[in-house]
Symmetry: none
Subunit: 230 residues, 2 copies
DNA sequence: CGGGGCTGTCACCGTTCTGTCACATGGCGC
DNA sequence: GCGCCATGTGACAGAACGGTGACAGCCCCG
C-alpha cells in the first residue's frame, strides 16, 4: 500500500515539526502548511488523504477553513482532524459543526494522534461508500445512515446507530463494556461503563418491534455480542 | 479480575495521599513514590499497570523521567498519565514528546482522575485473536465466548466457561483441585477446594444433554482431567 | 424561552451465579 | 461384607450482575 499523505496545517513551526516527525516516523507521507494559502497550494499539488488542521490559524481561522474545504466538491471527501488547544465543550461542538471528522485537544501524545488518524482513514478507506451490513433481515446502510427491516425504517439515535454499526461490522464476537466504550464512544471519552448497558437497552428497544433485539446478546461476565445464532 | 496496579509518583505528600485514597477506594492497588528513585524501586518490585507522574519532581523532572521510562524496553509499554499544575502551551509542547499517554491538569476531581485512568487502561490490548477449541464435537469459541455442540449452543456460567476453556486448552492432563483454583480462579483467591467439585458438576450437568460430560474425568486421589479418551 | 431529542447517571429490582454445607454415593483395602 | 475416605449432589443465602425507569443537563429548533 502507498503511504497515506497527511497535510499538516499549523502555524507554529515547532509543533508542526514535531507532528511531522511523529507521523513521518510511522510511515505517513507528511506535507506541511503554515496557513490556509499554503494549504490550498499543497492540496492542489498532492491531494492529501487526510488533513490535520489547527484550530487557530492566522488569517482564515482553522474552523472557517474546514468549512470551506467541506463545501468544495473537490475536497469534501478529504477527512479532517482538528487540533485545538482549548478543551472547552463549546469548541468541540463548533469543531464538529465545521465538518471535521475528529478533533484532538492539545496536549496529545503522538501515539494518540497516530491512532486517531488511522481510525479516521479506516472509516473512509476501502469498500468506498455505501456499504450495506445485513443480518437476519436487519439492514444497515452506511451510506444513507439508515437502518431497515423489510420495508420499514427503524429509527434510532446517533449513539445507537454507531453501536449497531460497530456490532454489525464485528459480529459473532464478545466485546466488553470497556472495549465498546473505546470503539464506539472513542478513546478519550470518560463515561461510566454502565452507560453502555443503557444504550444497549435503547438499541434493543428500537429493534424489538421487528424481533431483531435477539441479535444483541448479553454475555454475562464478559460483555455483549452481536450474533445471528441464539 | 486482578486489581490494576497504579504507581503514583508525586513529591507532595498530601496530594499523593489524596490520590492514593481516591484510587484505592475504587479498587486499584496503589503504590506511592516521592521521586524517581523510589519510583524505580517500586517498578522493579511490582510492575505497575499504569504510572501517574507528577510534572514537577525534585531531581529528575517528571518529564525527563517519562522520557526515560519510554526509552527503556522494559517500561515502554506502561502507560503514563502526567499530572501538571500548569496549563501553559510551552509545557504542553514538551509533554507532546515525552511519550505520556494522557495529561491531567491540577486541580482535578478524583472522579475525573479515575475516569481517565480507566480510559487509558482500556486502550491496552483489544484482546487477542479468536481461537476455536474443539474436542469430540464440542466447540468453544473464545472470540464469541460461546460453547456449541453441532448447531446447539450450550449455556454455561462464567466460571464453568473459564473452567472449560482451561481444560480444553490443556487436555489429556490431570490437574489437582489446588492447581485448578490457581489457574481458573486466580492465584490470590481464597475458596474451599471442594468448590471445584461443585463447578465440575455444574459443567458436567451442562454438557450432559449432549453427551460431552464424559470428557470431564475424575482421577481419584489426583484431581480432574479433560480427555477425549475413556 | 419552551418543547423535543439525546445523553449519561442513578437507584432500585429481579436474576443468575457462587461458595459452602450437609448428606448421599461409591470405590477400595482388608 | 465393612469402614473409610474421596467424590457426587441438592439446597441455600449472599453477592454479583445486568435490566430498567426516571431524571437532569444539554443542545437544537421553532
Amino acid at each position: 500500500m502507498n503511504a497515506k499523505r497527511i497535510l499538516v496545517v499549523e502555524d507554529e513551526q515547532p509543533i508542526r515539526e514535531m507532528i511531522s516527525f511523529a507521523l513521518g516516523s510511522v510511515g505517513f507521507a507528511v506535507e506541511e502548511a503554515a496557513d490556509s494559502r499554503q494549504a490550498q497550494t499543497a492540496i492542489a499539488n498532492h491531494r492529501p488523504d487526510l488533513i490535520l488542521l489547527d484550530w487557530m490559524l492566522p488569517g482564515v481561522s482553522g474552523i472557517d477553513y474546514a468549512r470551506r474545504l467541506k463545501k468544495d466538491e473537490l475536497t469534501r471527501e478529504i477527512p479532517i482532524i482538528m487540533l485545538t488547544a482549548r478543551a472547552e465543550e463549546e469548541d468541540k461542538i463548533q469543531g464538529l459543526d465545521s465538518g471535521a471528522d475528529d478533533y484532538i485537544t492539545k496536549p496529545f501524545s503522538p501515539r494518540e494522534l497516530v491512532a486517531r488518524i488511522k481510525a479516521v482513514l479506516r472509516r473512509g478507506g476501502p469498500g468506498g461508500e455505501g456499504e450495506v451490513l445485513e443480518a437476519s433481515g436487519l439492514k444497515l446502510d452506511t451510506a444513507s445512515h439508515r437502518v431497515t427491516s423489510g420495508t420499514a425504517t427503524i429509527e434510532i439515535g446517533p449513539t445507537e446507530y454507531r453501536l449497531l454499526e460497530f456490532f454489525m461490522s464485528h459480529p459473532e464476537r464478545v466485546y466488553s463494556r470497556s472495549q465498546l466504550l473505546d470503539r464506539v464512544w472513542g478513546s478519550n471519552v470518560y463515561v461510566e461503563e454502565r452507560t453502555v448497558d443503557v444504550h444497549i437497552r435503547r438499541l434493543r428497544k428500537a429493534l424489538e418491534p421487528y424481533g431483531h433485539d435477539v441479535l444483541i446478546q448479553t454475555v454475562r461476565g464478559a460483555g455483549y455480542r452481536f450474533s445471528t445464532r441464539l
